[in-house]
Symmetry: none
């Protein structure tokens, strides 16, 4: 019989719409990996009576209820109480956990906050799930076919605890059921409609369920099917993925849950390549994304975030005359930025540099150079090249898209050992 | 009596977690504007029986159910059927709507797709809600206190139809109820538990509903109450906000929907102050956050993302001897970074600089300097100062917390015209 689960997000901020609930989607995918069929997601306020009723209903249907939120130190946090009522089990204080929490505050040199002992309570018999990411401990209890797994609402904490503790605890108590196995490719550099056309027949495979999932410019091509294990699923999935890779070539930057920057830093490290950036309109975002990846310190020499023209002159040796004649957003300036950055490093020269300058908006645009006008340059092995882009979107989206395009440029240069021809579809129309 | 609503999102893509549900949060805020108290959000698959049961339950509780999704042309789309069963009303084909849909396809030069007539069906007596953004027509029906409002799942269509048609139709059938008015303060620099203690009596106000909403280190203190208009609500809310501000002082960085970086850039611009950063462990994130704010080009001179030691020496004039003797993560190094950055600008000197160096992890820590060890320095008006921090969390969280702390340091320095004493609660215990 199929194992079923539901996800309950607890907190006024979600119900009132002040926070977009990203936890439920993430948990649904994780639960599917463990063979649970997710029946529904629910978001409710932290009213104890209502919550206890919802939990009890789900338990009576044999569901594993995964809750997020409402386990902090304040009196508003009612999940522990509601779970204990729904399960019909007394709420107990874990003195060992409390002692460790006291130690933790002591180690941080902070006073133990009043009420924090609440975070060490759980229903009698529930398994203790430690929280290395915050102060609120979690728990798991199986009851019949279903049970309750209690997690915090802060996405980072939730994901950390899931990966390190809760996932294994659920497998221990429930085993692994009939699982869906999926594989996905990640794609950057073409519009969704083009991607759809190029892999249409593969997406309509009768053997696996295919989908394009879009996170703006980064697209995920996913196929899934129910199978006994990954090896059985791969008999179907591998030929599909091979065909997709053959069609898409270097537009595919990774398989699986891998960010573009992670894939890029890994590739650079494997090839022993060091990079540097000169950022104007991205304002540090290229470096920020690259340094999100552990190990980026072996790869990134520096990023000169030269937001003012004075900094472009001082830090990169861009000529004031060039800025005066062509403006900060021009082919001449971006090439001087890239070449000037390299010239700063007569020794220990970075292998690849990338430079960007553009108009992120909302102001600063003109008829000639509207918001979204960007020049991107790269230099490698004595060559330099500039691309003229026209990137749609508001300020943050423009930054995001240019930063990813710059990182993709580094990836393609590292992959092919030379500057690429095509880095994105956001190429400006010829003037 | 309070009017209540719930939001039901229909579709496998949401329940399986392949799409993050942003519609529910958006609709919750819109419904609050119309005076509806949202009881819950639910996401379910398009199984007709289950959906009909959920709709019936909500109707029996007197809720206005707003559904999204499941109204397209395919046989999987079951929302119309389920609504008709829950309401106990026959599903009827709207021949006028069908004729218009035929015309529409003819105008596009496309063949009328098989099954598309389903999109023109609605329960008998339900008001027709046209869809100018897609092919699926919508409907609204009041039944007693509650009713059903049916909308598509595609966010762009949903928002368009809501704004152009559904909102007005709901007002016509339900009137405008008692609206909630809210105000909120944003706080940075103390733990949630401390904030809770300091404003406990204010949060427990009998006149307004208070809450702490936490987005990691940035906290929102919100109060709301039903009122006729903002002016009436402010009679209650203003004294509460004044009292909270008096208690919290410069821990409050803004009122309303304002990010810490936005508030900081605005303050710097008002005071005519220009800043520069020297970033190691934050890897560009400080500059990235500041440059998310329109107008930051008037404020940010540069950020030197000196990720390698070589870059610290070359770009900031940090002495190799200092790095050798004390390490990159030390009071000596961070002060040389801050002072060295200033020294790069003999003219056009930035008014405030901030420098950070630390161990973001997961590797690089030691007994002496564990992951999360950070030195932050600021310089202003001929003075420099360094803080030793111990920041909990994984790599990304550490970056995020340090970047916000650095921005808060700039804010406090600008606010008081001098370097602050206290910038965060993540102070390392004395060694």
């Amino acid at each position: 019989m199929a194992r079923r689960a539901c996800i309950i997000s607890i907190g006024n901020e979600v119900v009132h719409g002040f926070i977009v609930n990203t936890n439920s989607a993430w948990l649904a995918r994780e639960l599917a990996e463990l063979g649970f069929d997710v029946a529904y997601h629910l978001a409710v306020s932290d009213r104890e009576d209502d919550l206890a009723y919802r939990l009890k209903t789900a338990l009576s249907e044999g569901l594993l209820v995964v809750t997020t939120g409402g386990i902090g130190p304040t009196v508003d946090d009612r999940t522990r109480q509601a779970a204990s009522r729904a399960l019909g089990l007394e709420l107990k204080l874990d003195h060992d956990a409390l002692a460790r929490l006291h130690e933790r505050y002591a180690a941080m040199g902070r006073k133990f906050p009043e009420g924090s002992e609440r975070q060490c309570m759980r229903p009698e018999g529930a398994a203790f799930i430690p929280n290395a990411f915050g102060t609120a401990s979690c728990f798991l209890l199986r009851q019949g076919e279903g049970g309750i797994a209690v997690l915090p609402g802060v996405p980072r904490e939730l994901k950390g605890i899931w990966a390190e503790e809760m996932r294994a605890a659920i497998i221990e108590q429930f085993g692994i059921g009939q699982r869906y196995y999926s594989r996905e490719l990640r794609v950057f550099g073409i519009p969704e409609s083009d991607l759809d056309l190029r892999v249409k027949t593969l997406l309509e495979s009768r053997e696996a369920e295919g989908a394009i999932l879009v996170d703006d410019a980064v697209m995920r091509l996913r196929w899934r099917l129910p199978a006994e294990d990954q090896a059985e699923a791969d008999k179907v999935l591998q030929p599909i993925l091979d065909a997709a890779r053959a069609e898409l070539g270097d537009l595919v930057f990774a398989e699986g849950d891998v960010e573009l920057e992670t894939s890029t830093v890994k590739l650079l490290a494997e090839k022993g390549l060091r990079v540097a950036c000169a950022e104007s309109c991205t304002g540090g975002m290229i470096a920020h994304l690259l340094t999100n990846v552990p190990g980026s310190s072996d790869v990134l020499v520096e990023s000169a975030v030269t937001y003012s023209n004075a900094a472009k002159v001082k830090r990169l040796g861009v000529k004031q005359a060039t800025l005066d004649a062509h403006g900060a957003v021009s082919e001449q300036t971006v090439l001087e930025m890239a070449n000037g950055l390299l010239a700063q490093w007569p020794d220990q020269r970075p292998d690849i540099v990338v430079a960007v300058t553009g108009i992120a908006g909302p102001s600063g645009g003109s008829d000639d150079k509207p918001v979204g006008t960007v020049w991107l340059a790269a230099a490698m092995g004595g060559q330099a090249k500039a691309w003229h882009l026209r990137v749609p979107g508001d300020r943050q989206l423009v930054k995001w898209r240019i930063a990813r395009t710059a990182i993709n440029t580094l990836r393609l240069a590292a992959l092919h050992g030379k500057l690429p021809e095509t880095i994105t579809h956001w190429v400006a129309p010829p003037t």
